[in-house]
Symmetry: C2
Subunit: 187 residues, 2 copies
C-alpha cells in the first residue's frame, strides 16, 4: 500500500481526502503462481497495481503462448483496449510467481472520478504511462534486430532479464527459444 501511495504521488498531487475517495475502488488480492488476473475472452473490468511478484500478458497463438508484456512491482497491468471499449480481451494476464496486487475496480473508479478531479487526473496519467510504454516497445521491434533487442533490454531493463526465464523471454523478443539461447551464448 505504501508503494501505491509513492506511485500515485510520483504521478500527481494527492491529498488525504483524495485518498479516502479512491479507497472504495481498491481491493488487495493475493494470487498464487499461474493464477489469472485476466482471462482471454472475458471483458477487462479492472487495473492491477503490482505490489510484489510479477505477471505476464500473453496471447495464445495456435496453442502456443506468446508473451507481450511483463509487469513487475509498481507497474500497472491491464488491457486498455478491453477496458475502454468493453470488448472481450484477446490476451490473458497471469501471475508468473506468487503475486500481490491492488485491484482498481473500473466501475467504481469512474464513479469517483466524476466527483474528484485528482482521481480523474491520476487515471489520465496512468493512461499516458501505458501509452508511452507501448510506443517505446513497438519501436523496439521496428528499429532493432533480435540481438539488438536483447542488448537493449540488458541496458534498459536488466531486472527483467534476471527474473524472466529464457523460454518466457524468447516469445517476448519475437525469436525462437533456441535463437535466444544462442544470442546469450555468443556473448
Amino acid at each position: 500500500m505504501e508503494n501505491l501511495l509513492r506511485y500515485i504521488h510520483s504521478l500527481t498531487g494527492f491529498s488525504p481526502g483524495n485518498w479516502r475517495a479512491l479507497e472504495p475502488a481498491l481491493t488487495t488480492i493475493v494470487f498464487s503462481k499461474d493464477e489469472y488476473l485476466l482471462q482471454a475472452g472475458k471483458v477487462c473490468d479492472a487495473l492491477f497495481f503490482v505490489s510484489s511478484g510479477y505477471c505476464r500478458a500473453f496471447y495464445n497463438k495456435d496453442g502456443q503462448d506468446i508473451n507481450t508484456a511483463f509487469f513487475f512491482e509498481n507497474d500497472i497491468a491491464t488491457n486498455i483496449n478491453s477496458l475502454a471499449t468493453g470488448e472481450k480481451s484477446d490476451f490473458s494476464i497471469q501471475a508468473s510467481e506468487p503475486l500481490t496486487a491492488i485491484r482498481f475496480d473500473i466501475k467504481k473508479l469512474r464513479e469517483v472520478s466524476l466527483l474528484d478531479p485528482a482521481i480523474e487526473a491520476l487515471g489520465r496519467k496512468c493512461l499516458q504511462q501505458i501509452a508511452a510504454k507501448q510506443e517505446k516497445h513497438a519501436a523496439m521491434f521496428k528499429l532493432m534486430s533480435p540481438q539488438e533487442r536483447y542488448e537493449f533490454l540488458e541496458e534498459h531493463d536488466p531486472g527483467l532479464l534476471q527474473r524472466v526465464s529464457l523460454t518466457q523471454l524468447s516469445s517476448y523478443l519475437g525469436v525462437a527459444r533456441e535463437t535466444l539461447s544462442r544470442i546469450r551464448s555468443r556473448r
Copy 2:
C-alpha cells in the same frame, strides 16, 4: 472542421458551449508534401487531427528512415511520450502528401481542460484510442511473420496499402524493400 466535429461526437458528448471553449486551442494548418508536423529533437507541444492527406511518423536510424506509423483522415498524429514528459521527440512526423490538419495546442488544451470536464474527457478518450492503437500494432509484430503482417493489413487496413508506396511500407512492416516486393509478387 465538420470531420473534427464528427470525430469528437463519436468519442464523447459535446455541447455548443464545449465547442466554444475548445476552439481557442485549435488552428487549421496546411502543410505541403514533405513538411514537418514534428521534428525529431524538438519537444512535441501539440496534437494534429488530420483533415485531408496523410503523414508518417519515422525514426532515423543510421541515416535510414524507419516508418512507425501512418496517419490518415480522422487520425490523431502526435508523440504521446514527448507530449506527456516534455522530453525531446526521438522521431519526426512529416506530410507524405499535401495535408490539412487541425492543430490542438497542448498548453491551451490543458487550460481549457481544467475549466470544462467535457474537454478533459475528450483528451482522455484520445489517449485511450492512441494507446489501443499502439497495443494492437505491437502485438502484430510479435504474433505474425512478415508475410502474415502484410496479409493482416490487406484485411484490416486495405486503404493503407493503396496509399503508401512499397518503399515506405517496407520499413513499417519491418522488412527490406526487396522482401516486400517478393511478398507481393508471390500472391
